[in-house]
Every structure is written in structure tokens, then in C-alpha cells.
Symmetry: C2
Subunit: 190 residues, 2 copies
């Protein structure tokens, strides 16, 4: 096998794609991407059908890590539904304080690629639906008067906060947790 086998070429490509597309936006060129990943264009086009597919695959690959970061693994979720919901926003606030933070990569992809049919848009919508489902489950478990409504409200706060913090027009020092607490209280969630 060569010095770099096919799997690691794929990995390096997806790693570079995740970082560069996030930092520079989806209009990043294939040339730049491949150079930065240390993979030839020929290999890239053997592994993926198009640049769009690379973007979609890189977003999809980050999903499990993304979900694990926001929702604690089921073995350690000893807290209440309210605590699990607030945990998501504490993570968001912490992440948004990092200098490289540019907002949620899935929301950014949906905004930049205005086409909802784009393969990466489909992946991004999946990420958003997962978080909505998580909120809905916790809301129902916590006895919210309207779990679906509360979950949608939490998504508004989450996406609004990540977009504003990413665009550097807001600093989330406790803003989202205060807002979410108000909404949890209003919905009667334990």
C-alpha cells in the first residue's frame, strides 16, 4: 500500500473540507481544498463525484461528534430534562466564545447554499431535525404543556444565538440560558 492509503486520503480531505468550508465559506475552490488536504484533484474526484459531495460528506462526518457534544451520552445524563436542555445552551455559549467561532456550520451551509436540494443542505437539515427531536423528547419528558412548541422555540433561540454570535454582533454571556430558562418556566417544564 502506498504511503497514504485511500482511507486516510478520504479522512484528510474531509478534515480539510470541514475546516476550510467553515472558515472560508462554501465558495472555496477545489484547488485550494486539495492543496490544503495534501490530496491530488484526481484522487478527490475518484473518491467523490463532485465538490458538493465532498461538502455534504464532511458535514455528515461531523454529525456524531456534534450530537455527542451537545447531548451528553446516555450513561451520564443523570440530570433532569431541564438540565439536559440547558446543557445544550451552555455548550453553545462556551463554543461561541472561541475566537474561531463562526456560527453553527449546518445553519451556515443552509444560508450560503440557498438551494434546499443541495446534498449538503439535506445533511444540514438532518442535523437541525436531530436537535429539534432532542428538544422535543426532553420537553415531553419534562412535562411541558406543549412539547412541540417549546422545542421549536428552543431552536429559534439556538439558531438565532449561533448566527448572531458567529457574525460577531452578540456575545452570549448567559443570554441564551436566561432566555431558555424563561421559556422553560413559561411552558411548565420541570
Amino acid at each position: 500500500m502506498a504511503t497514504t492509503d485511500k482511507a486516510s486520503s478520504r479522512d484528510r480531505l474531509l478534515d480539510a473540507a470541514a475546516e476550510l468550508f467553515y472558515r472560508e465559506g462554501v465558495s472555496l475552490g477545489v484547488e485550494t481544498l486539495c492543496r490544503s488536504a495534501g490530496v491530488s484533484k484526481r484522487s478527490m474526484y475518484q473518491l467523490f463525484a463532485s465538490k458538493d459531495e465532498v461538502l455534504a460528506a464532511s458535514l455528515a462526518r461531523q454529525l456524531p461528534e456534534y450530537e455527542e457534544r451537545l447531548a451528553p451520552g446516555p450513561q451520564e445524563d443523570a440530570g433532569t430534562p431541564r438540565e439536559r436542555i440547558l446543557h445544550v445552551f451552555e455548550r453553545l455559549e462556551k463554543a461561541s466564545a472561541e475566537p474561531a467561532y463562526q456560527g453553527c456550520p449546518y445553519l451556515a451551509a443552509l444560508v450560503e447554499l440557498k438551494d434546499p436540494e443541495h446534498p449538503a443542505s439535506v445533511v444540514a437539515r438532518g442535523a437541525k431535525e436531530w436537535l429539534l427531536g432532542f428538544f422535543r423528547t426532553q420537553a415531553a419528558e419534562g412535562g411541558a404543556r406543549d412539547a412541540e412548541l417549546l422545542a421549536r422555540q428552543l431552536m429559534l433561540v439556538f439558531d438565532g444565538a449561533s448566527a448572531r454570535a458567529g457574525a460577531r454582533i452578540e456575545t452570549l454571556d448567559g443570554l441564551t440560558t436566561a432566555t431558555v430558562t424563561a421559556l422553560l418556566d413559561a411552558s411548565g417544564t420541570r
Copy 2:
């Protein structure tokens, strides 16, 4: 005077820029923009220093209309602060129902141009600060316990809702007004 004087060339350029940059994103080409506006590239570069300046100017030109649409003119704002705040979100919900809706153009510009120094980013930030100031004024007038906090919370809801509705992952049938009502109640605003 020629068949099209300088002012109308500028107007047609800015009108086309507003529509096309909104629909297609900021990576739209100058060629396409000028062809669609019926203005030669030469004239465009006589009126503006760069494509970036055209984008910034087109966003700036829409600002008064944008503000007027969200906040009723001072001669007809007979309502309470709470009503004036809710009016903003009723307008947002109505706009987001239109098939061409793609989200708030100012937030979209900030997300797409990741550079906060970009001239269009400066204009967009100004639009966001205006709305924040409007919310803060109304919140204070309505006797909110913490007017600044409430205003920031309302911005989270506004931007979250516009981004999600624009990306077609949410339909705002009363969602924002319900959320805003809960936040207004929690803050003790009349």
C-alpha cells in the same frame, strides 16, 4: 440628457443588486448583475468603486424601507410598546410566508461575507443595531425589568426565526408571536 441619466442607472443597478444578491447570494458575478440591470460594466465602475460597494450601497438603500415596514411611522403608533414589539414579529411572519422569502437580507449578508470589515457587513450590522435599539426603547417604555436583556432576547428570536424560515426548515405560523409573548410576560413588560 441621454435616454437613461446617471441617477436612473444607479437606481436600476441598486434595484437589481438588491434582488439578485438576495436571491442568488453574494457570489453573484458582476457580468450577470450589469446585464440584468441594463447597465454597462463601465458605467457601474464609474458609479461604484467595486462590486462590494454596490452590495453595500444596495443594502443601505433598502434600510429606510426596511425600518418603516417593521416599525410603524411615529404618527400611527397609537398602541402600547408591547403592541409595537409584536407588530415587528407579525410583519416577519407575514413576510416569511412568501415563496420568495430567503431570510433577513442583512443577516444573510453577515453570514455569507464572513468578513466583519466588509463594507456590506458594516451596513448590515447597522441594520441589526437599529432593530436592537428599537426593541430596547420599547422595552424600557413598557417597563421591562431589564430592557437591554429583553431587547437582546427579541433579537435572538427575530434572527433565529428569519434564518430558519428562510432556509425552509420552519414555518412561523404564530411561533414567534407566541415566543415573544412569553418573553414579554416574563420580563414584566406592559
